[in-house]
Symmetry: C2
Subunit: 191 residues, 2 copies
DNA sequence: AAAGACATGTAAGGTGTTACATGATTAG
DNA sequence: CTAATCATGTAACACCTTACATGTCTTT
């Protein structure tokens, strides 16, 4: 059981519905945990059945009603136990890098296109994270926030996400350029 | 079906057994695809049944016999199709970051310890990747290898892995130090 | 003789992904 | 009235993880 702790950690930040959580996972939490909406709905049901979160129905007039959740004392204790246990090493699964790994043996063109496409997405994420960090620290500068600001957890994980996407951007960009140059060089040799 | 392409890409590099592949996945391929040995054994069986790889028994005298695999023409075509299809965005699952996300609400001490532990592991990986890159490029300097060297795919993915682990190292280290300082500051306030 | 690396596999159970289904409400 | 967003769920299937099982060969 793994997703549960990511959900609990995300819910520490406030009361959220499955739908809201899905959006949060899609942007910020995806820095360290990937999950699709359906996983969240079923995980929330399980967590509530086990008493680690508590749900509350919210009647809305402008849009469909929803059910929002908060972490219970038992949930906090579960997180405490989790953090005291050695974390398994992280896992990555990145199809685009599989393609690059194989690029000596297959057509480079579609790989290059995808690298360029992903560079744009990475650049957009960088911008989102920059703004998220600015928003979190309000009128403090970064050093002050890091020393005294609160909450610090979400700020730190967002910082990691920012760096990761910056590295992605640079690697995607330089790799695409490099493969283009090599393809061009080969075309000239062939000519 | 996802793991298959990572296995095919890894096998482009040469003939490997399941056991060897498991070690390769443990170090270099884990940069972009995580898999445990058992996954590899069963995936290799499936891939061979589908004709995407071909196995060959190797009799060894110094150690138990093994079965090594090479990518077939059909396997190459499968990789070609794969690379021509839009890659799904990558996924990350990192329990240690889940803990940091929650650090405002739980004891920081065990999280800090784990960050320091992981920083050491990241530093060791950085060293391994540096050596792998040196080994790949032989007597060329990096710029020359990037322009003309071969194979370029494994070099590029290793470069990405190196940067990722460098960033990990820096983030683990600075985050651990920061959380220590904040914990110390609180202890003084409390005193 | 025991420990450790090499080498491969079966089976059970847990997790994740995908397709589908349903319906409310707002904005254009 | 159509599309988009909000909101939640069921079910089937694919995939991954873990525990266990087995045996070879080398090193200490």
């Amino acid at each position: 059981m793994a997703l549960r702790h990511a959900v609990l950690a995300a819910l520490l930040d406030g009361e959220y519905s499955g739908y809201q959580l899905a959006k949060i996972f899609d942007v910020s939490v995806s820095n360290f945990w990937h999950a699709v909406p359906q996983q969240l709905y079923s995980e929330l049901a399980k967590l509530e059945a086990e008493g680690l979160i508590r749900g509350r129905r919210v009647i809305q007039h402008d849009r469909p009603n929803k059910r929002v959740y908060t972490v219970t004392q038992a949930g906090l204790e579960e997180l405490e136990r989790f953090a005291a246990t050695p974390a398994k090493p992280g896992i990555i699964r990145e199809n685009l890098l599989v393609m690059v790994q194989a690029v000596d043996h297959i057509s480079a063109a579609p790989v290059i296109e995808q690298l360029e496409e992903r560079a744009k997405i990475a650049a957009a994420k960088v911008e989102i994270f920059r703004r998220t960090l600015e928003h979190l620290r309000g009128d403090m500068d970064e050093e002050t926030y890091l020393r005294h600001g609160s909450p610090i957890g979400p700020y730190l994980t967002c910082l990691r996400g920012l760096r990761f996407e910056q590295e992605n951007y640079e690697w995607f960009t330089s790799t695409a350029r490099l493969l283009r140059e090599r393809t061009a060089a080969r075309a000239e040799e062939g000519a």
